[in-house]
């Protein structure tokens, strides 16, 4: 809720009110990856995969984590959720071994531990309908589709539209609007 103009009086009033109230309210603080896992859930709502990406109408969205898993158990909460009529399966791969096993992923989160191999991972997945996501700096420039960044403790993301088109993935305009940057 960032003020763009100098609404100093309003801000000041909010502070003085909150100064009294916040001492009593225990605001829940979420961790970065807790929130990022929910972002990934939301991405599934705004994305159309190519038809051949799913074996049937009911088959689940496969969410994969490649490399050291920063989410802990947070990602497993997804298995109890559904988006657009599909459930979720969570798969974890500690290392990039075989590109074939990754091709079953609809959403692939590539951990920072894989930073040095990102180029080759992306290259081997190009054209296979895998929505690649990472918070490695420069991920989008290496051909990744969605790159997470942190701005003042808030999660932001940028989209590489060209890469998503190559993968045959359609990203809704609403999501693109929320992206901090869209690479065309």
């Amino acid at each position: 809720m960032k003020r763009k103009n100098g609404e100093i009086h309003v801000i000041a009033a909010v502070i003085s009110l909150l100064l009294c109230s916040s001492a009593f309210s225990s605001e829940k603080v979420f961790t970065e990856y807790q929130v990022k896992s929910v972002f990934i859930y939301n991405f599934a709502k705004f994305v159309d995969w190519p038809e051949q990406a799913f074996s049937s109408e009911a088959s689940p969205v496969n969410v994969c984590v490649l490399g050291e898993d920063p989410f802990g158990n947070e990602m497993d909460l997804l298995t109890k959720k559904s988006a657009r009529g599909r459930g979720f399966d969570v798969l974890r791969f500690s290392k990039f071994k075989d590109k074939e096993e990754l091709k079953s992923c609809h959403l692939l989160f590539i951990s920072k531990s894989e930073e040095s191999r990102i180029g080759s991972i992306i290259e081997s997945l190009s054209g296979f309908g895998v929505l690649t996501i990472s918070d490695v700096e420069g991920f989008m420039d290496s051909g990744g589709i969605i790159e997470f960044t942190m701005r003042e403790n808030k999660v932001r993301f940028a989209v590489n539209l060209k890469a998503s088109e190559q993968a045959g993935i359609r990203i809704s305009a609403k999501l693109l609007k929320l992206a901090e940057a869209v690479k065309k």
Partner: protein, 665 residues
Amino acid sequence: MSSYFKSSESCVRFLMRVNILILSLFISAVFNPSPAYAEVQVVASNDLFDMDIVDLMELAVTTASRKSEKLVHTSSAVYVITSEAIRNSGATTIPEALRLAPGLQVARMGSHSWAITSRGFNNAYANKLLVLIDGRSVYTPLFAGVYWDEQDTLMEDIDRIEVVRGPGGTMWGANAVNGVINIITKKANETEGTLTYIGGGDFEKKFAGLRYGGKLGENSSYRMFTKYDDRGSLVKNGTDENINDDWDTGRFGFRIDSEPSSTNTFMLQGDIFKKRNDYTSDSQTLKYGGDIVGNWSHTISEKSKTDLQFYYDRTEMFDEDSSRIIETLDLDFQHHLSAGDRHDLSWGAGMRNIRFDNENTSPPIFYDPAKREDSLTNVFLQDKIAVSPGLFYWTVGAKVENNPYTGVEYQPNTRFLYTPGEKNVFWGAVSRATKTPTRADMDMGMYNSKGGLFLVPKKDMASEILVAYELGHRAMPSEKLSFDTTIFYNDYDKLETTECGFAGGSMQCYQDNQMYGTTHGFEAAANWSPVHDWVLTATYTFLEMDMKLLDGSESIYATDEMEWENPKQQARLNSYIKLPYNMQFDLAVFHSAPVSFQLYTGEYKLAGYTRVDTRLSWNAGNGFVTSLFVQDVLNESGRGEYKGASYDPSTDVERNVYLKVSFEK
């Protein structure tokens, strides 16, 4: 005094006045609120899934560590001081923040002067360090040391300080002999909104700052800041007597970042400052300065990127009977490209123009010539070769620099990086770095009381040469634990000395290169988070110096004196712990081994000491934070950290208590 001085002085004064006005208007606005309502959102963990993505984007989260992962894979000894660590330390100046890094020796000599070095050779004029603020070199070309009192910005705007121990000459250039300190400020789009703080205490008498940032159109952001600090004086060793080095300083600056397309980013920033310090009880020194930095990054393709940067920097010093003006203009170009699968190439070229005006020096010091203009040029090429991608990298590169004092200098290096698995990184390097003579070495002279020459300017000094050997290991056994250790062996040649002898009945000195020797050491840093909300960091530094003089040298500075001026061991422990009720308690314990100095009054010893800093802060919510800092808790009676900056044998640093209230929205 020149007419230029009068005009620029009044300009700075005017801007300072305008800023103090804005600041006071703002503060009065904050404390005279008008009614409005507030919205407090409390969400349970599982309900995150029910939040709209738009709301999700406004949710502030905690980040476990903001350490840049890239640095883990760097083949040099890097330590990153994060913005959080700076905030928690309570450092109100850049030099005080540098106390957080291992391998550095930071000693306060006066209220506004510090001796700071990496891997030995500390001195008020320590000259083997390259210090950059957003790519702008801030060591003075006059003697290659840093006027730390001139280096400042809003501490909250600092994104991180990267401290590289050891040579960085190939990538960074001249003077990066023993280390590089890279101060990087946040981008303007990371500082939108308002930040203000106000505070005061016994030594940090009073201070205030204000930053405002926002959007400029769709693709650009800006921020402006102003700050003011008023600090007290240190005391004469063992007494309560002030040495009269009180100072106050004000600064105004801005930064604009723009990304008109995904392939181009632009940055423009600048600042001006004024600093006033007491010199004796009835005289003052004034400093004015300003700089402007521009940068254009262009992505040609996914594998090719260029950076073009320019800056202009001007500093002026005036006291009762002397003045000094230095201007620097710098242009730098770099190109990174991946060639094939295995080569990560960087090359670049730069030029720098420096103008010195020392016409108005205070006797007995003089410069010959009194004014001077120097031009320097450099080119560099470096290749990081993926010998076995993901496992073994080999880097080789060199910088060639042409300077007006010694001509062409070569600074090559070779490095390796070995990453067997996810949890270990090994690296090593052999590099050659040079410290070229400066104007003070070559052109400065001094008269004696009879009007003869005491210090004769010598025009044929050579560069100091270092060949450094380093080995490092980083281990990350778990998400919660990491280690970083480095050993080094440095071999120096042609180190500068001041040679003195009797000529015609009076003493005469000149600068020369008659010292050589080695240093070796060990540096370690560890990070451990035993439980959630508690982070511990520890650092340890060991340094041993072995210096020798050439046969026949008549250096006034004995080599063993230099060896004793640097503590052999330093250790530091930081604890950051989150408490209930939005409180945080931070504790830092620092220990330094003893040092001793040979002064004209005799040997002066400083015992080893332990320094304890604390901070207790309360986050009142929605951007309001109150912090109480008690620095050097145990130091009731005062003690020295180094010999004094002026002619006093030493100054004492005392316990320092201050309160800070900040607000960010």
